[in-house]
């Protein structure tokens, strides 16, 4: 995993509205609880290979939101594939960089209930994803970002 990409640890995520695969507007801030934001490009082999892995990972009390460079047709199929359990947002690579400082794919940002980035990294498979959301526990995180709590 690399840490040289994405919003800084402890940084608040963007307070912005996005449109999901069903054209429903939603705000990340209104999404209660922990969130995993996964950034994928349809032109990246590692991202494509990550998609079936995401389906197999169970993340209790955590919402998964996929930001993808795909088009409507891609996202309809993806929605089907994920059995309509996840929000999928169409975002260009440029927008990913602008809103989340994400420049390489696949990339993942783990956001806590306070809308702060508590971990981030490149993920290639389900194991990486699980590691990413579990590597910093609540206590350790509070210590790391004590100035923010």
């Amino acid at each position: 995993m690399t840490l040289d990409n994405g919003l800084n640890l402890g940084e608040l995520i963007t307070n912005k509205e996005y449109s999901d695969q069903n054209d429903q507007l939603f705000n990340l801030y209104k999404y209660k609880g922990k969130k995993v934001l996964i950034f994928v490009s349809m032109h990246c082999v590692r991202c494509i290979e990550l998609l079936p892995e995401i389906r197999t990972v169970h993340l209790p009390n955590t919402s998964v939101i996929i930001f993808s460079t795909g088009n409507q047709e891609d996202h309809e199929q993806l929605d089907d594939f994920f059995q309509r359990k996840m929000k999928i947002v169409s975002l260009t690579s440029e927008q990913m960089e602008q809103d989340f400082s994400v420049t390489t794919h696949p990339f993942c940002i783990f956001v806590d209930e306070y809308q702060q980035v508590c971990n981030k990294g490149t993920v290639y498979n389900g194991k990486d994803l699980l590691e990413l959301v579990s590597v910093i526990g609540e206590g350790k995180r509070k210590k790391l970002f004590s100035n923010l709590f």
Partner: protein, 391 residues
Amino acid sequence: MNKLYFDYCASTPLHPKVAEQLFCTSEQLYANPSSVHEMGFEANQRVEESRERLSTILHVEPSEVIFTSGATESNNLAIIGAVRTWMKKTSQTPHVISTQIEHSSVFNCCKQLVGEGVEITFLPVDHNGIVSIASIEKAIQVNTMLVSVMHVNNETGSIQPIHEIGKLLRAKPHIYFHVDGVQGFGKLALELDDIDLYTLSGHKIGGPKGIGLLIVKEHVELTPLFFGGEQENGLRPGTTNVPGVLSLVEAIEISYSEREEKMQGLTVLHDLVYSKLEEIPEIIMNSPRPPLSAPHIINFSYKGTGVTSALLISILAKQGIIVSSQSACSSTAKTSRVLMAMTNDEILSSSSIRLSFHESVTPDDVRYLVHSISHMIHQVKSQNKFALLQR
């Protein structure tokens, strides 16, 4: 699952004789060839013997053979080295002619020079991916000092008319002609008489990674990119990679001596695959057929929307088929620059697959390959494409 590798343009396995050479020399010839003691002298002698052998094969002088770390370094040394020499000698802005389909180690090197005030003309290519002599002739200006054109395109296999370009430039001795020969060497006949600078990479021809060469003809003046010792005539300072040099020369000798026989086999495979793929209506062939293309590369695209190269590569990988789309050095790009130059079509340029072959590939292997591609195309059309990625 057994894997069938069809990405030999990206890298090849070590030839068994080369592997033996690499192992033996790594074990035995560990002294620094620049050292004054006997062991250093022996290592140096072996390097110089290799240089002699190579110069005989390529019909150049031993002093014209410069060993480098690989093709990227050779291409940068040829282009930046020639430009810097020109800039030292004259106040006139240097002008370089290249093409839109060069490997990124040439293309991005030229783009870097644009930022430094160098004038670069990137010539277009036709639908077969071939640059015309007339366009080169037309692009020549009074300040043109270098023409850099690859021999064989690494994505499509299109063969560039380097010998004709060499003849054209023969009458203009102030213009150096550089050829990136990485995908052409050991595949096509080569004549270096009218070429001033020639790049070659070890790992594309059964040699090890981390070794390559640049042929620099006697009359060519280059400014080095690195500074240090006097190795490689001061053009490429740094401790000589003795096992790399000896293995590279072994690989070159093998490639050279077995070229015609290998090409016969590859031509048969190419024809078999090309003919079968052409029959699939959802596919468009990007590579021309030989003699316009080298017989070890076939590039095709999926015609429909919503199917990227990344998806096709992943689906084929699930069937044990290893392929690629663009050069390994630009594999995260959305569209292929080379295919955009040939087709100006974003869909075709973002859904391409490159198959590249090797003498070890059998007719049975390519039959399985064609079957797998055909099956994949059928599945992509009729099923949820992401469901195809499940194990």
